[in-house]
Amino acid sequence: MIRKLQQNGWLLNVSLMGVILIVALMSGMFGQVDLDVAQVAAAVFGPPDSPEAIIVRELRLPRVLLAILAGASLGYSGAALQGLLRNPLADPGVIGVSASASLGAVIAIYMGLAAMSSLAIPVMAMAGAFVSTAILMLLASRDASVLTLILAGIGISSLATAAIALVMNFTSNPVTVQEMVMWMLGSLENRTFDDLTLAGPFIIAGWLAMLGVGQGLNALSLGEEAAQTLGIDLKRLRWRVVLGTALSVGATVSVCGAVGFVGLVVPHMVRAMIGYEPRRLLLPSAFLGAILMMLADILTRLPIGHGQLRLGVVMAIIGAPVFLYIVFKTRESMR
């Protein structure tokens, strides 16, 4: 029985969900004001007007929820894309949506829109993500081979990166440039329920698009032709994964900045735990992505570098060594 649960990945999934709860609780505890478990519990379930309740409900809760949504999106779509492309190097960035969302945000900062509304940056970033997805669909719609999709994604990504450089180039105020760079390094600081209501629906829609793709990804382990003759509708599968990634990661980047590495590393960490079957990786990758995102967010609250530590930096600094370790450990089976 236990072996079967282990094989199905349920044991892992249940454990990861437990860890999510624990880390979420930690995320409610640590910050400029440290609270203990009882205080967090009282803040969540008790009267809403105590100072603790305000800190937890208004400041930390949206942050925790966003970290979960964002991390899960990056982890899940990373695992799905690696399965679709049958390439362990794929990450959600390959379809160009992260760079395009960043371009939207940078333009918003350049035009000074952020001063008008706190939602200006995420809305513009989301617009950037949409435009890139539309271009991608246009470029790749007629014969959406995987190679076409990736090349189109790389092209869009390069173009967006070049445009970001161009905008920075034209920005005369160094403070504004710094603001742009800091945004792109990612953060969940000062995020509110407004950010959550803006990004949440798109993130959930992306997840729904990717629901149930596991069987097709498993069949793709045998190559495209074999998958097709096993009854998998490849075109549909490709679009579900690409559109799901575009929606969920586009919305994620719009509110958190371009946090790299989660989508690339998390599926590898899960493989080290339960093997390579693409379907089995999806859910644990979402859970582990959420956990890492919350942990990284907690670390950004530490008084290091005058509170300027950014989410994307923490993630990469932790993620890269872990990634190297996994590569080192699994180099036999990668052969």
Binding site: N8, R86, G212, V213, G214, Q215, G216, N218, A219, L220, S221, L222, G223, E225, A226, Q228, T229, L230, G231, I232, D233, G275, Y276, E277, P278, S333, R335
Partner: protein, 258 residues
């Protein structure tokens, strides 16, 4: 049980006519060999039957059922396929890999069921790879791998099995094993359609042959009818030496005029 009928199949790829007016039938219990020179359209014919390549014209039927009109999953239950040089992209265990053959019988949410497990075990025993079940598929030798991929295809349990050069890149013993498995499938009532390059195998293992030449059928019928000197010279530009030993016929090509 009805045969797999291909009628007037035509395929054009990238503006080039690859196949035209190709017709043949695979009856249950038969091994049919599709032979022809490189570029004659053998693999394309298989792919058109499977729906991987869209035919320009022609009918593909099983009995009175139009195969092209079937939903992908239903078609997959009728026709199984061993692609040429089939890749394995992830180090899955052999048992999980063979289990992928059950995909058409499962909903997107379903895991392999008890009854699937029984099928998986029986095809793995039949192909002598049950002892490999916990190995990673990426660590197998060429011969083991081809047996595992055959087991994966057999696990579909389709009435018709199509294979694109299943003996390619195998040593002689493993080639013979694969051909014996194919015969075994036919003996169990499946219709087997193989793309073959080895004319000796075509002669010895197939009930019927279809010889493709420049996108059309040059000859079809029993191996004796198809593998004539004249046909082989036209299709392959080779002559053949023939002999028999122990009641079995053999055939080896050599260069025409040589």
């Amino acid at each position: 049980m009805n045969g797999l009928e291909i009628q007037n199949l035509a395929v054009t790829l990238g503006g080039n006519a690859i196949l035209r007016d190709v017709s043949f039938t695979v009856e249950p219990g038969q091994v049919v060999g599709l032979i022809g020179a490189n570029g004659a359209g053998k693999s394309t014919a298989l792919k058109a039957v499977l729906g991987i390549v869209e035919p320009e014209a022609g009918d593909i039927r099983i009995g009175d059922q139009d195969v092209a009109a079937l939903a992908p999953r239903e078609r997959a239950k009728k026709l199984s396929y061993v692609p040429q040089g089939a890749p394995v992209h992830w180090p899955l265990t052999v048992e999980r890999l063979v289990g992928l053959g059950r995909t058409p019988h499962l909903t997107p949410w379903q895991e392999v069921r008890e009854e699937d497990q029984a099928v998986i075990r029986s095809v793995m025993e039949e192909t002598d790879c049950w002892h490999l079940r916990n190995r990673l598929a990426t660590t197998l030798s060429g011969g083991e791998r081809s047996r595992v991929l055959l087991a994966r295809t057999m696990a579909v349990g389709a009435p018709f099995m199509l294979a694109d050069e299943p003996t390619a890149s195998l040593d002689p013993l493993h080639q013979l094993q694969v051909m014996d498995i194919m015969r075994g499938q036919a003996a169990c009532g499946a219709g087997v359609l193989l793309v073959l390059h080895d004319l000796s195998f075509a002669l010895r293992y197939c009930d019927r042959l279809v010889l493709l030449h420049e996108g059309g059928v040059l000859a079809s019928g029993t191996p004796a009818d198809v593998l004539t000197d004249a046909h082989l010279e036209t299709a392959f530009k080779v002559k053949v030496a023939r002999w028999s030993e122990g009641g079995e016929q053999f055939l080896a090509p050599h260069v025409a005029g040589g």
